[in-house]
């Protein structure tokens, strides 16, 4: 009976962010099974998403009340189950929410001394790779709870491409738009909307 705890421990270890991929854990000989409920990756509920978005961006989604039920919030009249599907509807509304909150957060960053999104790299820091990396490391920690110490961590690559791809931003507005896109990308990231 010692095999099962060891298997679970190994599975838990593999779940942890940043862990290196190792040999797959032993599986039940009849085939893979769903993880135990307590160890299952879950989607944020509607309320959790709205609160997380506000904490991460500093901005509330003004349309949340309109779309809370579409995001899965039960009305406790007809539906009592919390909807947590990673559905097309959810992804669409998360995109809308992220675009609104990120747009406002970045616009505010450009006009105030206290910044939320562009903390380590301002809109004027165009072409400064080191600042891009520093700000992305900060945003990964802020949005996803992931500490990236290495400046060449492969998880930064897609976002650096987004920031640096040609045609390179030539104005503060264009640079801010790139940071809005990064912010939206992190809000819609699977690790932001699940836990």
């Amino acid at each position: 009976m010692i095999v099962r705890p060891l298997t679970l421990a190994l599975a838990l270890g593999l779940l942890a962010c940043g862990s290196a991929a190792e040999d797959p854990p032993d599986r039940d000989p009849v085939g893979p099974t769903d993880p135990a409920p307590g160890r299952r990756v879950r989607r944020l509920t509607a309320d959790q998403f709205a609160r997380s978005l506000q904490v991460a961006t500093g901005q509330a989604w003004t349309r949340y009340a309109t779309y809370a039920e579409a995001l899965g919030k039960p009305d406790f009249g007809e539906l009592t189950d919390e909807g947590t599907d990673l559905s097309v509807t959810f992804d669409k509304l998360v995109h809308d929410a992220g675009r609104e909150a990120c747009g406002r957060a970045v616009d505010l960053d450009r006009t105030t001394a206290t910044t939320v999104i562009m903390r380590e790299a301002r809109a004027a820091d165009r072409g400064d790779h080191a600042k891009y990396v520093a700000n992305l490391q900060y945003l990964f920690l802020r949005f996803l709870g992931v500490q990236l110490d290495a400046v060449d961590d492969p998880r930064l690559a897609p976002w650096l491409t987004l920031l640096e791809a040609a045609p390179a931003p030539t104005t503060d507005v264009e640079m801010a738009t790139r940071w809005k896109a990064v912010c939206i990308g992190l809000v819609t990231h699977p690790d932001f909307v699940t836990y």
């Binding site: 779940l15 769903d34 039920e69 579409a70 559905s87 669409k92 809308d96 675009r99 819609t188 699977p190």
Partner: protein, 447 residues
């Protein structure tokens, strides 16, 4: 299978851009209607609250019955006289609330005396979700609409193959792409289809999409359950196609365009229903019709609200009017679908409620919950007719001969799983999960 943009989508995409200025949506709708579509279209309409079958599919001629009080005198005059209808070759009576369905009686199969085995709303709702006996209030198996969505090859145009409005949906056995897109009410479709807010510009949008596709999740490939990144990638692919197709104008039910005016007229709802009456049965039916007509969905489930759960004297006023409004909307839905498929050869419309209402009145002048339910199916998949029966004098459950549908002491009490197995088998699906044999007598070519 390689996806080639169809004539439909080319015309939709280009047409919508020009439509407002030149042709209007009507022309596009005509083009869509002319597009051949060979795949199954399945619509499940759930009437919320428990319908009174004596006002609908299982009525009696006004008179005196020992165990049944029709309450005819309590009803408004327009609901007192049942309708003489021939379903298949069977002359029968339908309640006056079913007037909107009479034009489609030629394609109707009426199941009577279906034993719901419950008088609890949640349990009955779970039962008519999968048509498999629930575990308490918990649905077992996949929703019937999901099973229907899985029948045959799924065309690439079906970006939203399975949509449900106000009704939970389950998928325990089929491809993840068949898991229903869930809306709480019909008006929410615009939130799903309207273009993404705050466009970033085409070049940055493309860069964002690329970054999203490459972004790694911290959930290992060895995680034994469905990986969120994979689920999200599947949803995101469909979302991008939805945005690219620019379908929102097809579902803008409050718009002043000629086509939307025609839809509102057909389904009987006002232009401001999107905001003023988001539970409008007409708008809900219109959404189901449009999803199927435009071709993005194969299977649609809608809840018709408000509730039919009338336990008091309001039974005499609210129940028949609400039931008629809902069934009129279903009639309009079938009329709409028959424009594409006149004989409903590839179309099935199922109408259900979680149970029926008692044959006698309670002390408050209303009716409570009753086991012996009816279910309606419209479409060429089943032989038209009346199958099953309730006690003529008391609306009681009766055993029937499954070969004929007629009462038989040696027979079987009809259950929802008989209906589910028969329906899914008739359209080419697998009836195994229902654990009963399909009723061969109802399936053309099998008896």
């Amino acid at each position: 299978m390689t996806f080639h943009p169809s004539r439909r989508f080319v015309l939709l995409g280009g047409g919508l851009g020009l439509g407002a200025a030149m042709l209007g949506i009507r022309r596009i709708r005509d083009v869509v209607a002319a597009t051949p579509d060979e795949s199954l279209r399945f619509v499940h309409v759930y009437l919320n609250g428990g319908w009174d079958v004596t006002l609908g599919p299982d009525t009696r001629a006004p008179g005196t019955y020992a165990g049944l009080d029709l309450g005819t005198a309590r009803l408004a005059p327009e609901f007192q006289t049942p309708l003489d209808v021939t379903v298949g070759s069977t002359p029968t009576l339908w309640g006056a609330a079913m007037a909107g369905l009479v034009p489609h009686a030629d394609k109707a199969t009426v199941f009577r005396g279906v034993n719901m085995n419950t008088v609890a709303h949640a349990t009955g709702r779970a039962y008519v979700n999968s048509f498999i006996p629930p575990a308490g209030t918990v649905v077992r198996g996949s929703s019937l609409a999901t099973a229907a969505a899985a029948v045959g090859e799924l065309a690439a145009e079906r970006i939203l193959p399975n949509v449900t409005v106000g009704f939970p949906s389950y998928n325990t056995a089929y491809s993840r792409k068949l898991t229903a897109v869930s809306l709480r009410r019909a008006s929410e479709i615009q939130g799903l289809l309207k273009p993404l807010s705050t466009p970033l510009g085409a070049d940055v949008e493309a860069l964002l999409a690329s970054a999203q596709d490459q972004a790694a999740s911290c959930v290992s490939d060895h995680y034994p359950g469905p990986r969120p990144a994979d689920q999200l990638a599947s949803s995101r692919g469909r979302l991008r196609r939805l945005m690219a197709e620019n379908l929102s104008a097809q579902f803008d039910f409050g718009a002043p365009s000629a086509d939307m005016v025609a839809i509102r007229d057909r389904f009987g709802f006002a232009a401001n229903a999107v905001t003023a009456d988001p539970l409008s049965v007409g708008m809900t039916a219109a959404l189901a019709a449009q999803l199927v007509r435009v071709g993005v969905s194969r299977s649609v489930t809608v809840t018709m609200a408000p509730s039919l759960d009338t336990h008091g004297a309001e039974w005499a006023t609210q129940h028949p009017t609400r039931l008629k409004a809902a069934l009129d909307a279903v009639g309009a839905l079938i009329t709409d679908l028959r424009e594409l498929d006149p004989d409903l050869e590839r179309t099935v419309v199922l109408v259900s409620s979680e149970f029926a209402r008692t044959p006698k009145f309670n002390g408050r002048g209303g009716r409570d919950h009753w086991f012996a339910n009816s279910l309606l199916v419209f479409g060429g998949a089943l032989r038209p007719g009346v199958f099953g029966a309730t006690g003529a004098d008391n609306l009681g459950l009766q055993k029937i001969d499954l070969a004929t549908g007629a009462p038989s002491d040696a027979g079987t009490v009809l259950l929802p799983e008989h209906v589910g197995a028969t329906l899914i088998s008739a359209v080419g699906g697998d009836p195994t999960p229902f654990r009963v044999s399909p009723i061969a007598a109802l399936i053309p070519g099998r008896s």
